[in-house]
């Protein structure tokens, strides 16, 4: 059975945490919204109290007008009109569907207001309808008291809901925090593994690109460098490029005479001596066996040839004994080729400079041959 991939696990965890957070937010928003609605939504009737209070105010406004009607009979009509208006307004603000549904006293009180109104409209001031007035005022008291209780109940419910919200919010915060930490740890572990893997990859690449014996670059690196070089050549950069191909003369015989350990040491000494001569812009590669390749950038033909001559001298100066060499010491042969303003292939470049090295070998070794030197000069 295959294990699920790590990437899928991370995506799953991420999605899970998003779902949890989203659900919590939604849940709390809805619950909190409900709590708020319970307090502020007029549908629950909290604000209805304003209607009953206004009705009560208008009704009470009528009382001093009644007294005035008795005291000032001359203004009777105007006062009566004003009293009737106040009573109509009192009636209107109590004539609310919710009151009529919820409080049995409201329809009775509405009838009482109408009765008082008709009584006054018909010109009766006395007797004062104490029972009717008392019933209406008692009804207002009942409505206001119940509305206050309703308000208190709703606020209490909202507080309980808010407390529950707070509890679940805390649970949610802890859960999300835990998920966040877990996710971070997993990502951190993945990052470290990735980093380690990258370092190992670079180390392997370095090893593949470096010749461990001579500390020069490998043949693989040479091919890569030449490919990069010809990729842009000559259109995108036209610095002077010089290629140097050299090998150690009669090196097989040297190995046969002194053994491979001495041969390896000779290779190390020669490449170290040549490395000291090379400028920072030059790259030094081991082509294979005792053959080496150098790429010079930004140096003229004369500079590259002069450097090749100094390389010959540097190897001679090492004075490594070689009985099979005509000079009695280890020497080297060098081919130098300067790139022209045209396109090349990697194999063609190697072939060009190899041919020059061959010419140097053919003409007695221990010398430098470049493409401008004829066979006779060599």
């Amino acid at each position: 059975m295959n294990r699920p991939s790590r990437t899928l696990s991370y995506i799953g965890l991420l999605l899970l945490s998003i779902v949890v957070v989203f659900t919590l937010v939604l849940l709390n928003t809805v619950r909190f919204d409900d709590s708020l609605r319970a307090i502020f939504n007029r549908d629950h009737g909290l604000y209805d109290q304003a209607f009953s209070e206004r009705s009560q105010s208008y009704l009470i406004n009528a009382l001093p007008l009644l007294k005035e009607m008795e005291a000032r009979p001359s203004d009777m009509e105007a006062l009566r009109e004003e009293t009737l208006t106040q009573l109509d307004l009192a009636y209107a603000y109590l004539n609310i569907g919710r009151y009529i549904e919820r409080y049995e006293c409201v329809p009775v009180s509405l009838d009482s207001i109408l009765s008082i109104r008709n009584h006054i409209e018909q010109g009766h001031i006395q007797p004062f309808m104490y029972d009717a007035w008392a019933g209406i005022l008692e009804c207002y008291s009942l409505v206001n008291r119940n509305q206050n209780e309703l308000k208190a109940n709703l606020i209490e419910r909202a507080l309980v809901a808010s407390s529950n919200n707070q509890y679940w919010m805390n649970i949610g915060v802890v859960a999300v925090y835990g998920l966040g930490i877990m996710l971070w740890l997993l990502l951190e572990r993945q990052h470290r593994r990735g980093h380690k893997s990258e370092e190992e990859k670079l180390a392997w690449q370095n090893r593949a690109m470096t010749d461990h014996l001579t500390a020069t670059y490998s043949r693989m690196a040479l091919h890569e460098s030449l490919e990069n070089l010809i990729k842009d050549w000559p259109h995108h950069h036209n610095d002077s490029i010089g290629l140097v191909f050299y090998d150690l003369d009669h090196f097989k015989q040297f190995n046969d005479s002194f053994g491979h350990v001495a041969g390896d040491k000779a290779l190390r000494d020669v490449t170290a001596a040549i490395n000291e001569l090379l400028p920072s812009c030059a790259e030094h590669f081991r082509f294979g066996g005792e053959e080496f390749f150098i790429i010079h950038r930004g140096q003229s033909h004369a500079q590259v040839v002069e450097l090749a001559d100094r390389m010959l001298q540097a190897v001679r100066d090492l004075n490594i004994r070689h009985p099979k060499s005509s000079a009695g010491i280890l020497t080297t042969s060098v081919g130098v080729y300067m790139l022209e303003q045209r396109e090349y292939s990697v194999d063609e470049l190697i072939k060009k400079v190899d041919e020059l090295l061959y010419v140097a070998k053919k003409h007695g070794r221990n010398r430098v041959v470049d493409e401008f030197a004829g066979e006779e000069d060599a």
């Binding site: 502020f40 209107a92 569907g97």
Partner: protein, 151 residues
């Protein structure tokens, strides 16, 4: 004596139907209409849930903008409403809302006691819950004066 009183009451009621119920104002133009005139001219009906009645109600009256156009000859956009209880509200963009002036409710002529003689309602509730009366702040009861206040 009782007969005389009844006669007086009938007389007063008959008289009251000719007392101005609504004043319409636009710039220098002012019109007064009685309840009887309003009821007689009502030309639009609409049935919907009446949030203050807690039941489905048949409203009769006028489309606000049509009524103002008919009475004052103006295409009103901003209108001020003044009610008998002193409530004063100005609404803008009335031409873009479905506002109705109600004079009868379930066949009964509105008086102050049932939030008349003229009431402003909104016939298109825009998907809002009609049982939630907090959404009906723009309903104006007991209108006695309407002023077109377009600039």
């Amino acid at each position: 004596m009782k007969t005389i009183m009844v006669f007086c009451c009938i007389g007063l009621m008959a008289l009251s139907s000719h007392v101005s119920a609504l004043t319409l104002v636009s710039e220098d133009k002012e019109i007064s209409l009685t309840t009887a005139q309003l009821v007689e001219q009502a030309n639009y009906t609409h049935e919907m849930y009446g949030p203050f009645r807690r039941q489905t109600t048949l409203f009769e009256g006028f489309i606000l903008t049509d009524f103002l156009k008919q009475q004052l000859g103006v295409n009103a956009t901003s209108v001020r409403f003044i009610a008998f209880d002193g409530y004063d509200l100005t609404l803008n963009n009335v031409d873009q809302r479905k506002l109705m002036l109600v004079v009868k409710e379930n066949g009964e002529v509105l008086t102050v006691r049932n939030h008349g003689p003229l009431r402003l309602i909104e016939t298109d509730l825009g998907g809002h819950d009609p049982k939630n009366i907090s959404l009906f702040d723009d309903w104006v009861w007991m209108i006695k004066r309407i002023e077109v206040v377009d600039e």
